[in-house]
């Protein structure tokens, strides 16, 4: 049967048979890099279009519908426009940092792809500290944002960058704690282990209410970490004129924009992997026939489906809730999410020790 796992194995064997091992590894690096960039391009185009369509339907509008059928090529046209625009660097800016910042943000997003399992046996790098790697690298992007805000030499950009820093430092905590609940239940940091542990049911079903609570906290925290509404004070179009990327234009702006959407995808992919079973099909107990039908759907479809469901959830939040003030933002984290997730962690630890899950 043709599956992504078989294709990658065939390519691996063919490369090793024709080239010497070092060259084979090098060409595999090259293939993975090209695939990652292609994935980024496709995701950037499709997620921006999806966001605009979802926003339009929620606000009783039609959204883009002029370029191509249902406006499908609108984002392609926008990208072409951005490529042709001049990438202006302000006179008073710190030129080196200003030009470096978008690439830092982009590289951080790119590194996050490494441990994510896109389908059964289709994973770039299955390290044994996968989850730790994800949480560690995802906070690098704040350096890029701070760099952009500082180097722009613009008070709005600096304010936006500082807010973004405060926000990410706070929300990393509850995101980390809610990830740890799953690590406790699984007993492993490796992504493939976490997915295999969900073969007989996803954690969100197996873990009862405590895992549901940590799922909700995780979604809130990653929404904040990706700087999306209702936590978009770092950008805050109405007060800070887009915050840290006020001074950016052309392709450098496009890189920030793309990185935002890639980060959403990755955050949702992590959520889908930890709580919704990654590429694992939906199984119900002993319904053999039903489980068999579910197995027939390719694992990559399951993964993409779950991820896009979570992305849709985040878009739904974004177009429903108003933006928080900075004090409300920090109150929510330190007074509500952190205590709740700490208590929740304790309950989950008790559950794991006593074996109170399916």
């Amino acid at each position: 049967m043709l599956s992504l796992e078989n294709i990658t194995n065939a390519v691996h064997e063919w490369l090793n048979a024709t080239l010497n091992p070092n060259l084979a590894l090098l060409s595999e690096f090259l293939i993975v890099g090209v695939l990652a960039i292609a994935l980024f391009a496709v995701l950037g185009l499709s997620l921006v279009l999806m966001e605009r369509k979802v926003a339009a339907f929620i606000q009783i509008r039609l959204g883009p519908n002029r370029v191509g059928p249902f406006g499908m090529f609108q984002t392609v046209a926008d990208t072409l426009k951005l490529i042709m625009k001049e990438g202006l660097t302000p006179d008073g800016a710190d030129k080196f940092l200003f030009n470096l910042a978008p690439y830092i943000v982009m590289i951080a997003a790119m590194m996050l792809l490494a441990p994510i399992a896109f389908a059964k046996g289709f994973q770039i790098w299955d390290i044994n500290i996968g989850v730790l790697f994800l949480t560690a690298v995802s906070s690098i992007s704040v350096i890029g944002i701070l760099m952009a805000g500082w180097a722009s030499n613009n008070k709005y950009s600096l304010l936006g960058a500082m807010r973004s820093g405060a926000q990410i430092v706070s929300y990393e905590l509850s995101a980390g704690l809610s990830i740890i609940t799953i690590v406790i239940l699984t007993g492993s940091l490796q992504i493939s282990d976490i997915i295999n542990a969900q073969a007989n049911g996803w954690w969100i079903f197996k873990g009862h209410i405590p895992v549901l609570i940590s799922f909700v906290i995780f979604i809130i925290a990653v929404t904040a970490e990706t700087n999306r509404a209702p936590f978009d004070l770092a950008e805050a179009e109405s007060e800070l004129t887009a915050g840290f990327h006020t001074e950016y234009s052309g392709m450098k702006f496009a890189l920030f924009f793309l990185a935002e959407y890639i980060n959403i995808f990755i955050a949702c992919a992590i959520g889908a992997t930890l709580f919704l079973g990654g590429w694992m099909p939906f199984h119900i107990g002993h319904w053999e026939a039903f489980n068999h039908i579910m197995d027939f759907i390719p694992s990559s479809f399951w993964f993409i489906g779950k991820t896009f469901f979570l992305i849709f959830l985040m878009m739904w939040f974004r177009w429903t809730f108003p933006r928080l003030r900075i004090d409300q933002l920090l109150n929510l984290e330190w007074k509500y999410l952190l205590p709740i997730s700490l208590v929740n962690l304790l309950v989950v630890a008790l559950m794991a020790v006593m074996g109170w899950y399916f």
Partner: protein, 158 residues
């Protein structure tokens, strides 16, 4: 009790968030609620709102007669000099001189669609039309004469 208030707060917050999401979720799934007008495409079937004000027109009947007596109440009511009325004197049947309208000049480019002229008109001879396609290449084309050539006042209107 502090703890009870705290937990109550959380549930109240969650409930209000879910209420908001139900509203937006309803709109997302019910596309018949969409209110966007796809203007140049639906030009033939476009329905403007009843009270939409696009421009001032003078009502003429099928005999090319209007009810304007040339009293210039509209000119006085206009806050920004949009209307200019030029009168003439013509002899009526009894040989008496009588005031009548010669030209009703309407500067669409100055008009704010405030409707005060229509309210001021004692004979209801002018009204607002919902036509909004006013773009022209020359500003002078927006200065319009509202009474049609050869039109005259209706009999019996004083």
């Amino acid at each position: 009790m502090f703890i009870i208030d705290y937990i109550k707060d959380i549930f109240k917050g969650l409930k209000s968030l879910l209420t908001g999401m139900r509203v937006t979720g309803y709109y997302f799934t019910h596309h018949k609620e969409i209110i966007t007008e796809q203007y140049p495409d639906n030009r033939a079937t476009l329905k403007m709102a009843d009270r939409f004000r696009g421009e001032v027109v003078m009502i003429h009947d099928e005999n090319n007669e209007h009810a304007c007596t040339g009293c210039s109440a509209c000119e006085l009511a206009c806050p920004n000099g949009t209307i200019k009325i030029i009168n003439k004197f013509e002899l009526n049947a009894e040989g008496k001189k009588k005031k009548a309208i010669d030209t009703f000049i309407y500067h669409l480019e100055l008009c704010t669609m405030c409707n005060l002229c229509v309210v001021a008109c004692p004979t209801d001879t002018i009204k607002m039309e919902p036509n909004f396609e006013h773009s022209v290449y020359d500003r002078s084309k927006l200065t319009k004469v509202l009474n049609r050539p050869g039109s005259k006042i209706k009999a019996g209107v004083e």
